[in-house]
Amino acid sequence: MTPACTYPERRDGVRLLVVDPAAAAVDSARVSDLPDLLTPGDLLVVNDAATLPASLHGHDAQGNAVEARLLARIGDNVFRVVLFGAGDWRQRTEDRPPPPELAVGDGLRFGTLAAHVVAVAPVSARVVDLAFDADGAALWAALYREARPIQYSYLAHELPLWAVQTVYAARPWAFEMPSAGRPLSWEILLALRRRGVGWASVTHAAGLSATGDTALDAALPMAERFEIPQATVDAVAAAHNRGGRVIAAGTTVVRALEGALELWGELHAGTGETTLRLGPGYRPRVVDGVLTGVHAPGESHFALLGAFAAPPLLDAAVARAERDGYRTHELGDVMLIVPGALRAAWPANSRMNVASRILVDRAPRGRSAAERRSNSSAAVLHA
């Protein structure tokens, strides 16, 4: 499969590979079909973290070029970072020269923003804690001025800050875009609500997906901070009580919800840090399904999907994605793994009929322009 190297013209203009573990079936749809694939009573949980510009280019005291990619915020003005040597995002990270070896006390400068090393991680000398010489509004202003969003070597063009945000982004906790939520437009989210599917959110500090350093990548994802609001705890309980499914928009949401349960023994509101690793051996207890990127076997993300579907079904999903030319990676198509998804739209039909109707038989949805206008004015008068 090939990576999507440009941003789609419409964020929701991507395809959706539907994997139904209950039916052991796979089919192709559009992400705009999501409201028909879920059932009234289901709950979609998104990660509302905005994406920080998390890549800083600068140099050390000797003038050696260095790039720092933010990995986690561990104090008011202290961030854990991964260091890269000279070069830029157009090179694959595995082809980049190593960064200069830094020790505690060494200084770095990124344009107007200075920092010094306060710790070197045991896992790799390339992972250090940097204390920036600014705090509060001045630090955030400097980060937004000096840093760029983390880029990917397969991209045709550099991604601007707006291109790495979801439509519901709030606090800038994420260092890479929580990309499973990227295709969700308000058109789709509001259609889900009309269908009776609820929304809820967590905030999860999505860290780096890969660094190109094998030893380091084996340690990813590192501990990530999350926050679960009371409204989400209540919404999850209500969904399960009424027999609905909880669907995580992205593996960061799975990590937050399942990580909270591991950490606290129950789901309650609060902030925590999770080191949970998902994989074939993991049985999710909060989350029933996941919306995620399209991944190929061998990628670390692919292994996570083993928590949601058995290997033969995932093999069938990959074969279907390859046959139909699905695009992978952050800007690519997405995959929905939800038990019963392929029976939701037209329960009377057989699976294959459902699938073909999802693909081709889609009547235009929504109201006429006149209805929209009259409803709009009613909303103003009656609100």
Partner: protein
């Protein structure tokens, strides 16, 4: 006095006039306030004034007309005070003063008025309102002028931009109707501000409203969901409001 504890608010054009007064009125009720303006000195002074009274305020130096500043403003604000509950699009430009007849107005000045007074508020609202919709609550206020409706000579660029802002506000409100997010447009009338002095230098200042009193009325509107219907254009005066 109504409390706005646990409220995160962003005010553009926050270094002077009505914007500064809105920041002070919000902070006095306990809101965590972020002020945005183009120039650091006036902005820092506004923040210092709020902090000296025990309020929480932060400054972001940015131009709302700059496309690349939108998500930087939204991100910095949410980092400083949390997800925003209140957005006040107050920043606005008259264009060059003395104001000119349309036949004498440069095209670039019309473009700039639209960029600051219409497109900037659109972008910032787009960047902020999604998280409000997800949480099911939030208030957006666009500041307008009677020049949006009255064909005052020499107010062409400004008046047209405010008319566009008002229509945008009505459509925002229609689309956000059932989401729990409210938007209204406020006409604050003639106030004793630098902008007013720039536009009408020989005005009788004694006849102009104190922006602090107008700000109090706007903040009261924000805090009371029954005060104005979603999408309404509210004429706010120092002593009374008229919702239309």
């Amino acid at each position: 006095m109504m409390t706005m504890q646990n409220t995160a608010a962003l005010v553009t054009g926050g270094s002077a006039g009505l914007g500064r007064a809105l920041g002070e009125a919000l902070a006095a009720r306990g809101a965590r306030v972020v002020l945005v303006a183009r120039h650091a000195p006036g902005l820092d002074e506004a923040v210092r004034a709020i902090r000296s009274r025990g309020g929480e305020a932060h400054a972001i130096v940015a131009d709302v007309a700059d496309k690349h500043a939108t998500y930087a403003i939204a991100g910095q604000a949410a980092a400083l005070v949390g997800p925003l509950d209140v957005l006040i699009n107050n920043a606005s430009t008259l264009g060059p003063v003395p104001l000119r007849l349309l036949l004498d107005t440069d095209c670039e000045d019309v473009e700039r008025a639209l960029a600051v007074n219409v497109v900037g508020p659109f972008r910032l609202t787009k960047a902020v309102a999604g998280s409000m919709v997800l949480r099911g609550s939030g208030v957006i206020v666009n500041i307008t002028s009677d020049a949006a409706g009255e064909p005052y000579e020499r107010w062409g660029a400004y008046g047209a931009s405010k008319a566009a802002l008002e229509q945008l506000g009505r459509i925002w409100a229609a689309e956000l109707g059932q989401t729990g997010v409210r938007l209204f447009t406020v006409d604050p009338g003639e106030m004793d501000t630098r902008m007013h002095a720039d536009a009408i230098p020989d005005a009788d200042r004694a006849a102009l409203a104190d922006p602090a009193r107008v700000a109090e009325r706007i903040v009261a509107l924000i805090g009371d969901p029954r005060s104005a219907p979603n999408g309404a254009r509210v004429i706010v005066r120092a002593d009374e409001d008229v919702a239309a």
